[in-house]
């Protein structure tokens, strides 16, 4: 009986000591049960994409054919995301057309990508502004999402290897377009 009592006491003491030691260790590691965190894929804006591979989606063109950014690999591309309802896009369009005329012989591609509108609306707009560069119709706004547009217009410069050189939010002047594409051309 005495033997059993001693055994129980020593086991209880072992457990007590063990709980204290492990409790101290666990307490040291315990950082508190923090709340669940949520990361909601925020866009860092088009500027955050510099250096990333340029994603491409096949969409309809204003002339009825299909087209995709990937088709212009090997050329420096200025891609302009726009919509007919967007006042700064309307203001920027003459400069964009001028830039296209100046640079098409140098192998620079200008692509207008309409965001989420009908072909009819985009065609009326293009006619009214004398646009002659290719217009893609991004009905599902895939380019807008993937290029992290935080507003319109958004301009993305893509190098010959198919990487984003710069992403720019907002309206550009002709001088700013020349500067943005010029640095991409000089870099290669």
């Amino acid at each position: 009986m005495r033997c059993l009592t001693v055994h129980v006491h020593s086991a209880a003491a072992r457990v007590a000591v063990g709980v204290i030691v492990l409790g101290i260790l666990v307490g040291g590691c315990y950082s508190g049960g923090g709340p669940k965190r949520t990361i909601d894929g925020g866009s860092g804006g088009p500027g955050s994409l510099a250096g990333a591979p340029a994603v491409s989606y096949t969409v309809k063109r204003l002339d009825g054919h299909t087209d995709a950014l990937a088709r212009y690999r090997g050329s420096v591309v200025l891609m302009n995301l726009w919509a007919t309802w967007c006042p700064p896009c309307r203001q920027e369009m003459p400069a964009l057309q001028q830039f296209y005329r100046e640079n098409k012989s140098r192998g620079v591609v200008v692509l207008g990508v309409d965001q989420g509108e009908s072909a009819a609306a985009a065609a009326t707009f293009a006619r009214a502004h004398g646009v002659t560069f290719p217009i893609l119709l991004d009905a599902d706004e895939q380019y807008g999402r993937s290029y992290a547009a935080i507003g319109l217009p958004t301009t993305v410069i893509i190098d010959r290897r198919g990487h984003v050189v710069r992403g720019i939010d907002g309206e550009l002047t002709l001088a700013q377009m020349r500067e943005a594409v010029g640095s991409a051309l000089r870099a290669q």
Binding site: A11, G33, T38, D40, G41, C86, G116, E117, A121, Q142
Partner: protein, 319 residues
Amino acid sequence: MTSRQTALFVACVAIGLTLAQDVRPGLDLYHTWQYAAALTIAIVVLVSYAWGARAGADGLAGARIAIAIVGALAIAGGGLLAGLIGPDTITVGGSPGSVTPVGDLQAAAFFSQADPQTIERGAATVALRRPGHDPLTVPATGRLFLGTSIVYVSARPAAYIVARDAQGNRLTVTQPTNTTFLSPVLLFPQNQPLRDKSYPLDTFATPGIHRIVRALYFSAADAQAFNHLGVRQSALVLAVNDDAGKTIGLTIAPSGREVAIGNLHVTATLGTYPQLVIAAAPHPALLAIGLLVFFGGVLAAYTRPSPDKPVVTPVAQQP
């Protein structure tokens, strides 16, 4: 209850508590001090028993149980560490076609593009890309284990919006209050309490005709619960304002059906879009080995003859 029975009971509880992390991952419970304390006490009780049993305090069967206890200890230790040092549960969301960095995994989550059919079927996917590794597509059902983390997708409500003007021209859909500005896919990051329940809420705009629309998501079950809605399928309740804040109207848009409010025509296709959940959990290989050792030890203790029990041999009858 003998010390052996107590040890086996505590081992089963510790195994159950740890297995729960893999079976029902992501619960806050696993990061509470109470959970850590329960596993700590279990570990100490099990070590104490195994220590004594190894020294012969519980006979040969006890020594075999001690081996089983080692398996239980491995599992409980894994559970304790995952709860203590594993990451808190993180939900990673993203719009179709977007990329979200996941610092805890040193990875980036690529959310696939989605059209109305993909949203309706809930068939969009998420892929994880890590430097130096092949991309991993997280399965719609099932889980991936990366280090001390379990990664799986959960479905969140989503609606694909096609907006047209009165002439039938398609309109740009923007989300000025959300992290993704240009997207016709609503992911309902907010909730609106109504009666005793919360309903997913989102806002979109059609700047082409100066409309701002608040959309409340009702699943089919929710829609049926609100009889006066008059629909039995999932639907959006749309409240339309102009961009000066003037109310234009309110309507119900059943999934896939075009509705008109003033000069705005909306077709909302309702379904789900995946979001990534990352939770701490012990690796299943550790659990499998631990369980194998545990059940092997218990089986050996109770099925193999033990010299500390008297062996009954038949007495030969005298002729």
